[in-house]
């Protein structure tokens, strides 16, 4: 079902907030994976504020949907979304990366409420998601498992081991996203280690593929509705995104995979985000 105007407005507000938060945390922490955080922000926003059946007051609720940020370096985006959802206070994130903080840049599920799986090393999340989805099915639970991969992460062979098993086990309760921002640390994905024909690869591994604009809530919503309704097997949503989305001087710039922001740059970045959302 198409999103209502109010829903879109609400999601846009959360997306604006998430981008402001990502910029703040990057500033406080001295450095974070801001480019990939900004590219995945809209996926996080629509999942946490529209789709995920979770209860921040009861983070371990056994019937909750599970979410796995397989591209764990996007903790800078994941943590503020969890905070705004109500798992903890946003101000706690002032300790991000600092000595004995519960918040390292790759979030730890034993330290951060709302995090289902500790990630950071790439190529692990989808296997864990397969296990969760199998576990739900075996226990006749109807919760969904959502997993977000980075596109560069798909260089890892273990991603394809997991993909093979997801389709082998016909996991229709697993919904996979790839944040296709086309950049990795050393350059463009197609230069470092080509992924194309990317959708064909997923199809060959038995996935049903939806390609969307990963910053368009209507397209994301339509794809998620499709994936939830699909009963024959796993669906992957390839979300075409821009690394650094929302901050004009970062967008599609390889050097903004990881970085810090001083006071001036923070202000510039925030102004750019305000402009994107018509708040300038």
């Amino acid at each position: 079902m198409a999103l209502s105007t109010n829903e879109i407005k609400d999601l846009e507000q959360h997306a604006w907030q998430a981008r402001q938060d990502i910029i703040d945390i990057t500033g406080w922490s001295g450095g974070a994976h801001i480019g990939g955080g900004l590219s995945v922000a809209d996926i996080l926003v629509i999942l946490y504020f529209k789709y995920l059946n979770v209860d921040p007051k009861n983070p371990q609720w056994e019937d909750r949907d599970r979410f796995i940020m397989s591209k764990g370096h996007a903790g800078v985006a994941y943590a503020p979304v969890l905070a705004r959802k109500g798992y903890f206070n946003f101000d706690d994130l002032q300790t991000f990366n600092k000595f004995k903080s519960p918040f390292g840049m790759h979030l730890d599920c034993l330290k951060v409420k709302g995090v289902d799986v500790s990630t950071g090393s790439l190529g692990h999340g989808l296997s864990i998601a397969v296990g969760l989805a199998l576990g739900a099915r075996l226990q006749k639970k109807d919760w969904y498992t959502y997993c977000v991969l980075g596109d560069g992460e798909c260089n890892e062979g273990s991603v394809w081991e997991a993909a093979m098993s997801a389709s082998h086990f016909k996991l229709n309760n697993l919904i996979t996203f790839v944040d296709r921002n086309r950049l990795m640390i050393d350059g463009e994905t197609e230069d470092v280690m080509g992924l194309e024909p990317f959708a064909d690869k997923w199809k060959a591994f038995g996935f049903i593929v939806k390609e969307v604009d990963g910053h368009d809530f209507n397209q994301l919503s339509e794809a998620i509705d499709f994936a939830k309704a699909e009963k024959s097997g796993p669906v992957v949503i390839i979300a075409n995104t821009a690394k650094g989305k929302g901050v004009d001087f970062m967008e599609n710039e390889v050097k903004w995979h990881y970085g810090g922001l001083d006071t001036d740059l923070r202000a510039q970045a925030k102004a750019s985000v305000d402009k994107l959302y018509g708040k300038a």
Binding site: H124, S127, L134, G135, Q139, S158, S165
Partner: protein, 336 residues
């Protein structure tokens, strides 16, 4: 099932010692619906497939993909189930090393690993299938418990005990040809507690896995022929190690020798050495295992003889250790 070519840990068809363990896991499966089994195209070789035959809906074969194997196990554990995962020790500890460490140990999941073909138990297969590094690797993972049972009965005890033992457990066994050591399960097995197989005051032999039987045979021989009073400790749990039993052995016998089917670096011998070093007590000490090399090819019995892990080798080592000089503390008894 094939004629005992590999561990028949879940094989209840014949009265092998391994069958005992198989029976235990299937019984546990009845009592614990949360138990699920996983393997990576070694359901038959490891015989976890027996569990799979009894509980097909609770068994997952992920194909030859060990990294995925442990990731999937982590996910199953996170969904509230208790996975038992079985594949060869070399693939658990090295191919899927990071998944075991990061997906299972870091997140402290109730995942129980039965690693088969440990040490040189598949000696004829060559170094790709030997595993003489796993104890070192596994004991360096925080939260991990590491157990090396002496035989099938002890393996059964370990499996039963690990159900109520929180967190990840690594149980390292051989290939299934290993001779029986224990007659029954009633000898007081406890995770983390050494089993004193023979009391003695001249020297302590510390062993695990296949070396337990060899050390006992050697101890009996040495008692009769050399007049030695030999203590034998089966330290089946490498981590957490029984520090008390080791320190008591140091105090009572002042001479210790460790025997294990593992590189002499990082395994049981190193764990024992850590305890001795931290105690500040002098004693005669040696560790016998694979001497930091890739093991020769051959049948396990021949390799155990070659690396002095059989009874004759133990006897030879003991006679050497009895000649070793070491410095004793004056106030020994006050401090220990």
């Amino acid at each position: 099932m094939s004629e005992g070519l590999t561990w028949t840990v879940y094989d209840a068809d014949s009265m092998t010692q391994a069958e005992i363990y198989g029976q235990v896991l299937c019984d546990l499966g009845d009592q614990h619906p949360e138990i699920v089994g996983l393997s990576a195209d070694l359901a038959n070789s490891t015989k976890i497939g027996k569990f799979g035959q009894k509980f097909p809906e609770r068994f997952f074969n992920v194909g030859i993909a060990e990294q995925n194997l442990f990731g999937v196990a982590a996910g199953l554990a996170k969904s509230g189930l208790t996975p038992f995962v079985s594949t060869m020790a070399t693939f658990v500890s090295m191919r899927a090393c990071e998944q075991v460490r990061t997906d299972i140990c870091y997140q402290n999941l109730d995942c129980k690993i039965i690693a088969t073909h440990g040490g040189a138990s598949f000696g004829q297969a060559g170094s790709t299938h030997h595993c003489t590094e796993d104890l070192s690797i596994m004991r360096s993972f925080a939260n991990m418990t590491v157990i090396v049972p002496a035989d099938g009965i002890e393996c059964a005890n370990a499996v039963k005990a690990c159900i109520d033992w929180p967190g990840p457990v690594y149980i390292r066994i051989g290939r299934g040809f290993e001779p029986k050591f224990y007659d029954d399960e009633e000898y007081g097995f406890q995770i983390g507690k050494a089993v004193t197989l023979m009391e003695g005051t001249d020297i302590t032999l510390i062993c695990c896995g296949v070396t337990v039987l060899q050390a006992m045979e050697a101890a009996k021989f040495l008692k009769e022929n050399d007049g030695l009073s030999v203590r034998v400790l089966n330290i089946h749990t490498i981590k957490p190690i029984d520090e008390e039993a080791i320190l008591k052995a140091v105090m009572d016998t002042r001479r210790l020798a460790v025997f294990e089917e593992h590189n002499v670096m990082g395994g049981l011998g190193s764990a024992v050495a850590d305890v001795i070093a931290a105690s500040g007590k002098g004693c005669a000490f040696t560790k016998v295992g694979i001497p930091d090399c890739y093991c020769e090819v051959g049948y396990p019995e021949d390799l155990y003889t070659h690396y002095k892990l059989d009874a004759d080798g133990v006897i030879e080592t003991v006679r050497q250790v009895m000649q070793m000089d070491f410095e004793e503390d004056d106030d020994w008894e006050d401090e220990v």
